[in-house]
């Protein structure tokens, strides 16, 4: 059967061609993400008047409603959407790379490296900046980069496919090692710095401006582009490396690109908002339940759903117990933990 005949065969069997399914998915999930991102800035702990917020006659510096909308809420929603999309799609890619449904963006040690960088900066008060980049996000990204580089160096051999078990072990080892270093640094620090470090680990989307988002955006966009190029190879890779090789996929290159792009997305997202957990595991599974396992559909769907999911979690985090805000990582964990358990029980 030729490709054309098999496509016709699939259509006659009731399976729509990939282009249609992709279009439908993008429209549906895109609408969800868009609606969430448009509604979220309208809700918050303070009641604001939208007409006043958009009233151009009042100078911006005097317009409290406009400042709340444009300086406090809108960047927060944008950051949530970007970080949610990054974690969710990185989760999908890593689950395919490691052929393990329990893989998360944090499995391979990138977030532990980012956390160590951030906590070193918080504890020892390094004031180094690079242009518009702030000390803590910069140190955090440097940590993520070092961690990813170490794992990459340990797990790869030139020209040969990566052994997923070595990759996993390297990631897990680095996670433990960096976690121990984090505990040590926190212990050596002053009380206030230790608490601030702990607070950073719970995640914070309240960036207060578009600067930090614009710093992380190029890196995440590059990662997304690589994800898009890899999606059909990931379908075959997630079955097995031998199958993939026999189908003509360049396994070594696909694996390396998958790791590098997932690490890039995760590192940038963690530097922006801290290690917000459970988005990278809950969203891929939920999306696969709804759309099937074709990565060409799952990847964009997961990104869009992840954006909507994290924005919604942050909305809950900032409105449920005002004036006290729950860290967003706590909300995602409280939703994700029981979901995870349900998933395990369901599978067993």
């Amino acid at each position: 059967m030729t490709v054309g005949e098999s496509a016709m065969h699939r259509v006659s069997m009731g399976v729509r061609p990939i282009r249609t399914r992709l279009a439908v998915t993008l429209v549906a999930y895109g609408a969800l993400a868009l609606v969430t991102c448009l509604l979220a800035p309208l809700v918050g702990s303070t009641t604001i008047s939208l007409s006043r917020a958009f009233d151009r006659s009042i100078p911006f510096a005097n317009n409290v409603d406009a400042q709340i909308f444009f300086v406090a809420r809108l960047p927060r929603v944008m950051a949530g959407a970007l970080v949610g999309a990054a974690f969710a799609s990185a989760g999908v890619v890593l689950q395919a790379l490691l052929r393990n449904p329990l893989a998360t963006p944090f499995t391979l040690g990138v977030s532990a490296g980012a956390a160590l960088g951030a906590i070193l900066s918080i504890t020892f008060g390094a004031a180094l900046t690079l242009g518009p980049l702030l000390p803590v996000p910069l140190a955090s990204f440097a940590g993520a980069f070092c961690s990813a580089a170490i794992v990459y160096a340990i797990a790869t051999r030139p020209g040969r496919p990566i052994s997923t078990s070595v990759l996993l072990l390297a990631g897990v080892t680095l996670n433990s090692f960096f976690s121990a270093l984090i505990l040590f640094v926190q212990y050596m620090g002053e009380f206030a710095e230790t608490y601030r470090g702990l607070r950073w680990l719970m995640g914070d989307l309240d960036v207060g401006g578009f600067g930090p988002i614009l710093s992380a955006l190029p890196l995440i966009v590059i990662a997304f582009v690589i994800f898009a190029l890899l999606s059909s190879s990931l379908n075959v890779l997630s079955v097995g490396t031998d199958t993939a090789a026999s189908r003509g996929v360049n396994v070594a290159r696909t694996q390396r690109l998958a790791f590098v792009s997932a690490a890039l997305a995760t590192g940038a997202a963690v530097s922006l908002a801290g290690p917000i957990g459970f988005v990278g595991i809950v969203v891929p599974h939920l999306v696969r339940l709804m759309t099937g396992v074709d990565h060409r559909i799952v990847l964009p769907a997961a990104a869009l759903f992840g954006a909507a999911f994290l924005v919604a979690c942050d909305l809950v985090a900032r409105t449920v117990l005002t004036p006290v805000e729950i860290p967003v990582g706590v909300v995602t964990a409280m939703l994700g933990g029981p979901f995870f358990l349900w998933l395990l029980i369901r599978k067993s």
């Binding site: 702990s45 000390p135 067993s348």
Partner: protein, 307 residues
């Protein structure tokens, strides 16, 4: 259909874990907790005092008990005499062996260090537990410490002096309108994230009140609040005071930190430039220098009262 054994085991483990956590969370009755309900201050003479609480170390030196202090905590900085003294740890890591080796007859602990108090009680060493509270708590601790160390008269005298200092500040700022005040005691450098400000209770809240400010978070019955950007904009303080414990920030550091507030231009304090940076350990230690702290805060909020 028979129940799936794996599911049963999983549920059993969950139940056991939840049960275990509940049981372990129940308060364990300690021998000293009853005694702390109605503290009867032992007035037997003391000659060797170890202090784990910097605020109380300062008090000891103020009331003349300085020569009796043989060791202090890792975080003590004031008065300069403590530099020569050995260190024995602090709230989270008291070095019990070192404490015992120094043969103290009174150890000043944090009220939450119940395990340490039990250990010392077993060896027959007196402890003086301190829980921080507002400014009134500081003065009361000063009096109690005076009684416990055989300097009751000096303790009473010092407490009266500090009260007079505070009353003087209150009177000076009395005629002036109270600005809506935000007191920031911690945040990430060059960012408004992870900001900790004074809530409605505690010694910082009391200081704001004495210094003639109207705390924007007076209604929140917590000692600290972590406001988001939205909350800061909504509360719109008219005066912002940032306090730092450690040494003088260089001018360009202050300018850079001041500029971090610029995006929130609708806040009256930002528009009028009423953002003050104060530093010094006397601002964050609830000890005998609260009078100084109150005056420094009052000078920032009401410079017109001190001309």
């Amino acid at each position: 259909m028979a129940a799936d054994p794996k599911k049963l085991i999983l549920v059993a483990i969950l139940a056991a874990t939840v049960g275990g956590l509940t049981v372990s969370g129940a308060p364990v009755p300690t021998p000293t907790s009853a005694a702390r309900q109605a503290p009867a201050i032992d007035t037997a003479p003391v000659t060797r005092i170890i202090s784990l609480v910097p605020a109380l170390t300062e008090m000891l030196f103020e009331i003349g008990a300085g020569p009796q202090v043989v060791a202090v905590s890792s975080y003590d900085e004031f008065p300069p005499a403590v530099d020569a003294l050995p260190r024995v740890g602090a709230l989270l890591d008291p070095d019990v062996e070192r404490i015992l080796a120094m043969r103290p007859d009174l150890v000043i602990t944090y009220g939450s260090q119940s395990a340490l108090e039990i250990q010392l009680a077993r060896v027959g060493i007196r402890t003086f537990g301190y829980r921080h509270s507002g400014v009134a708590g500081v003065l009361q601790a000063l009096r109690d410490l005076g009684v416990a160390t055989g300097h009751a008269a000096e303790g009473e005298q010092k407490a009266r002096e500090i009260q007079a200092q505070l009353d003087a500040v209150r009177t000076k700022v009395q005629p002036f309108a109270r600005p809506r005040t935000l007191l920031v005691f911690s945040r990430l450098p060059q960012s408004l994230q992870q900001m900790y400000v004074s809530g409605g209770i505690g010694f910082l809240a009391d200081l704001i009140d004495i210094a003639g400010g109207a705390n924007v978070f007076a209604a929140v019955s917590r000692e600290s609040v972590q406001p988001s950007h939205e909350l800061l904009l909504a509360r719109a303080p008219e005066a912002i005071v940032e306090i730092h414990a450690t040494g003088m920030m260089a001018t360009e550091g202050v300018l850079r930190e001041r500029s971090v507030w610029t995006p929130l231009a609708s806040i009256p304090a930002v528009r009028s430039g009423r953002i003050h940076f104060l530093d010094g350990s006397y601002l964050v230690v609830p000890g005998p220098r609260v009078g100084q702290a109150a005056e420094a805060l009052a000078r920032a909020l009401h410079p017109e009262a001190f001309e």
